[in-house]
């Protein structure tokens, strides 16, 4: 097989004329992936916590609503959801708002749609973890809280949630890893994150193997960094006496 390996290609200036190198492109992609994933993760945590709590409350309307939320976001493919946010949502908004969105910078449009999409998609999964964390607590904890005269919201805030949050750190780690991987789907609407930069590198450099190997390694590194970070969190918050605890 006659293939000319050329790893030096990353240090060459890009064909677009400005003085950035192809390595700079990769770093921009990496930054976009990280920025997108972290911002979506923050929203997903907050929203997921609220929806997860609502799924466990003794009110049929609230828990039914939360269940519907989770089912909708879990049963539609991520790509379809992304296209719905990017192509359909601006058409369904009130006209002023929709037009304002369509006239904004294309990068802002892509980023906002991607962020909302990833955040809501992940929030449904976070909600499931929060729910199973709360349900895994012994029922005595809730009863004890109520018996001490706490209201139900107070029992959640001071008794159940502090425990549940610490118990669900390990499953949340895998959701956190997933959000970085899922962000690659956003390359389909033209957002220049890591995977999209990889494709662009192939087109510009004609060195497909180097480009794809570099991008794949970047994802592996990202994975390792997130995993070690979350391992640190896990060790610091684990509950003594539980599996994996001290």
């Amino acid at each position: 097989m006659a293939y000319n390996w050329n790893w030096g290609v990353f240090l060459q200036p890009t064909a677009t004329g400005d003085d950035s190198t192809y390595l700079d492109w990769m770093f921009h992609g990496l930054q976009m992936t990280i920025g997108l994933s972290l911002s979506a993760w923050l929203i997903a945590l907050l929203l997921g916590a609220v929806v997860g709590v609502l799924r466990t409350v003794p009110n049929r309307w609230l828990s039914g609503l939360a269940t519907a939320y989770v089912e909708v976001f879990r049963n539609i493919p991520l790509l379809v959801q992304l296209f719905l946010w990017y192509f359909v949502m601006p058409e369904l908004l009130p006209e002023d708002l929709g037009n304002a969105f369509k006239q904004s910078n294309p990068i802002v449009q892509q980023f906002l749609s991607s962020m909302v999409c990833l955040a809501l998609f992940t929030s449904a999964r976070v909600a499931e973890q929060v729910r199973s964390g709360i349900n895994s607590l012994p029922p005595g904890q809730k009863n004890a809280g109520l018996a001490l005269g706490f209201t139900l919201p107070q029992t959640y805030r001071h008794v159940m949630l502090p425990m549940a949050v610490r118990l669900i750190v390990p499953p949340l780690t895998s959701e956190f890893l997933n959000i970085f991987k899922n962000s690659a789907v956003c390359s389909t609407i033209g957002l220049l994150e890591l995977a999209a930069q990889g494709r662009q590198l192939v087109d510009y450099t004609a060195q497909p193997y180097e480009s794809f190997i570099a991008v794949t390694i970047a994802y592996l590194l990202l994975n390792v960094v997130v995993m070690s970070g979350m391992r640190w969190v896990e060790v610091h918050v684990r509950v003594p006496g539980y599996i994996g605890g001290k």
Partner: protein
């Protein structure tokens, strides 16, 4: 506000159904190959032969760390060229469907192998010991005693993973292969009715996946009481 016009959907139904057949074909083949290859990976991972278990661990961790989109791009952009130059195939042979199935099968096998490994480990150790005491070899004990029980417990998880895989097949969009979602997008783009077609596609996926997950849950509950 957008004015809806659903009239382009009825005429496009045969085309959309062709797309759905491709989605289902990819899902089914990837589930079958994924489970077979995933079982082998799980057995390798649990085996006492160190190089085999390292290979399986490396394989599983690699595929689980990389986004599916990235794996599919490898299989659409790089692997066909590699095969062309290795086997001297004519340039531009359309291998997209085969590539898609291979990519999904190899990717999902990593996830299946983790489910299957947990399933094998959930079978009580005494089963293996009893089989050995009856004079079975390791292979016989695995095949006749441990795996059948493991798979019985795993069926709901394997099916749920199949539903996730069905949703993920929409990502063949990156190769412009006309699966159900690709077909819906093409029709919407052609008729200027993207909003309607995307909503329709979302609704179809929702109904199918929701119904399928209900069936799995029903089966799971029946298993618990049995």
């Amino acid at each position: 506000m957008h004015e809806f016009d659903w009239s382009s959907i009825p005429n496009a139904l045969p085309f959309l159904w062709d797309g759905m057949k491709i989605s289902l074909e990819i899902t089914l083949s990837a589930v079958i190959f994924g489970i077979v290859w995933g079982t082998l990976l799980a057995l390798m991972r649990l085996s006492s032969i160190t190089p085999l278990s390292w290979f399986a661990a490396g394989y599983v961790n690699l595929f689980r760390a990389v986004p599916l989109v990235m794996v599919l791009l490898w299989f659409f952009l790089i692997v066909p060229h590699l095969l062309e130059s290795l086997f001297g195939l004519p340039r531009g042979t359309d291998m997209r469907l085969t590539s898609a199935i291979a990519g999904f099968a190899l990717f999902e096998a990593a996830y299946y192998s983790e489910i299957i490994r947990a399933g094998i480990q959930s079978v009580p150790k005494g089963q293996m010991a009893a089989a050995s005491a009856l004079g079975m070899t390791y292979g016989q004990a695995m095949r006749l005693v441990v795996l059948p029980q493991a798979f019985r417990n795993m069926v709901p998880l394997l099916l749920t993973q199949g539903i996730i895989l069905f949703q993920d097949t929409s990502l063949v969009y990156v190769s412009a292969l006309a699966d159900f979602f690709g077909a819906a997008y093409k029709v919407g783009d052609r008729d200027g009715r993207l909003v309607e077609l995307l909503l329709f596609a979302g609704a179809v996926y929702f109904v199918l996946c929701f119904a399928a997950s209900r069936v799995v849950r029903h089966y799971q509950n029946k298993m618990k009481t049995a």
